[in-house]
């Protein structure tokens, strides 16, 4: 977890889920994991992850290999590429959504429902394993 008082400038990579309550500028690449931007989180970065959930503010392009969810408190300015995108009532979004990422390696996988917010709302563990590269 990146706490509310923490600011990171650079490249974030790793192999575990990430919860952001602070500020991140740069890039976030966790292709096999979830990235959740909490309500107090402010991200000015391109994000690539398996699942991306936005409760806070993001300026940058988002690639969700499985899914992107912008919750009712989320505010996103940027382009989204993901086979499944959910915008909750009240979410603010400015940009384009590409739900046909056929040019990339992504493919639509069956889900029980489009309302899959709960699937990514579980607390994210914050054990070691993230790489932070300053730029």
């Amino acid at each position: 977890m990146i706490g509310p008082s923490i600011t990171i400038k650079g490249e974030v990579t790793g192999e575990e889920d990430l919860l952001i309550h602070g500020k991140v500028e740069g890039t976030i690449n966790l292709s096999g994991n979830q990235v959740c931007v909490g309500e107090s989180g402010q991200v000015c970065a391109d994000i690539q992850a398996k699942v991306v959930k936005i409760d806070g503010k993001v300026t940058g392009d988002i690639t969700g290999i499985e899914m992107v969810v912008i919750s009712k408190s989320g505010n996103v300015k940027g382009n989204i590429v993901a086979p499944r995108v959910t915008l909750e009532d009240g979410a603010i979004f400015k940009g384009s959504i590409d739900m046909d990422p056929a040019g990339s390696a992504f493919a639509k996988t069956p889900l029980a429902s489009h309302q899959t917010t709960h699937a990514v709302a579980t607390p994210l563990k914050a054990s070691g394993g993230l790489d932070l590269k300053s730029v």
Binding site: R84, D89, I97, D98, M99, D100, A102
Partner: protein, 192 residues
């Protein structure tokens, strides 16, 4: 955000008549992204461009300012050069643009149209029709969703259907349906 209400649309289904769910489709949507619209299009292989021109109103310029206004729309639309649009959802945009602004907007949009691009818009039967103030989205293939805007938009000056046919020079009016309150629902096809 205000709760949505729904309204049946006779013309909306024609937008998707030639598009099946396996076909890649590019959508140009004027206005903010609504949850139901994103949810609806999640059944398609699609790319959605949401451009909220309503938040930039009013667009007012004289004819001699056309290049400036074209630049203004280029900056707002920022469509990638290779983008070719299948479906345009203009909603009631043209009720808020004067002829010069419509011309500038279409000048920027034209390179992104293709022969079978289809569009949906609202107009008025009587230019004295009172201003509606709604956000629009798609609930189902034949059902629109609308939400009340928090405040009325500036620059309401609707055109008659005849005027609009002349102004929308790169579209052909395919069908129109008279709605309550002297409003019109329009189905347009690109004319390249």
């Amino acid at each position: 955000m205000p709760k949505p209400s729904t309204q049946a649309s006779k013309l909306l289904p024609y937008l998707f008549e030639h598009i099946d769910e396996e076909q890649a489709v590019t959508v140009f949507h004027v206005g903010p992204a609504l949850p139901e619209t994103v949810d609806f299009f999640s059944n398609y292989r699609c790319k959605l461009h949401f451009i909220d021109l309503f938040s930039e109103l009013p667009f007012v310029a004289s004819e001699d300012e056309l290049p400036t206004q074209v630049q203004q729309f280029e900056d707002l639309l920022q469509l990638p050069a290779h983008t070719r649009i299948d479906v345009c959802l203009f909603w009631d945009l043209f009720n808020f643009l004067d002829p010069a602004a419509i011309n500038a907007f279409l000048t920027v949009l034209y390179p992104h149209l293709k022969e079978n691009s289809m569009a949906h818009a609202f107009s008025v039967h009587n230019p004295r029709a009172t201003q509606g103030s709604h956000l629009y989205g798609i609930n189902q293939r034949d059902t629109l969703s609308s939400r009340n805007r928090r405040a009325a938009l500036p620059g309401y000056a609707p055109h008659t259907q005849g005027e609009l046919k002349e102004l929308l020079h790169c579209f052909r009016l395919e069908r129109s349906v008279l709605l309550p309150d002297s409003r019109l629902e329009l189905l347009l096809q690109a004319r390249l």
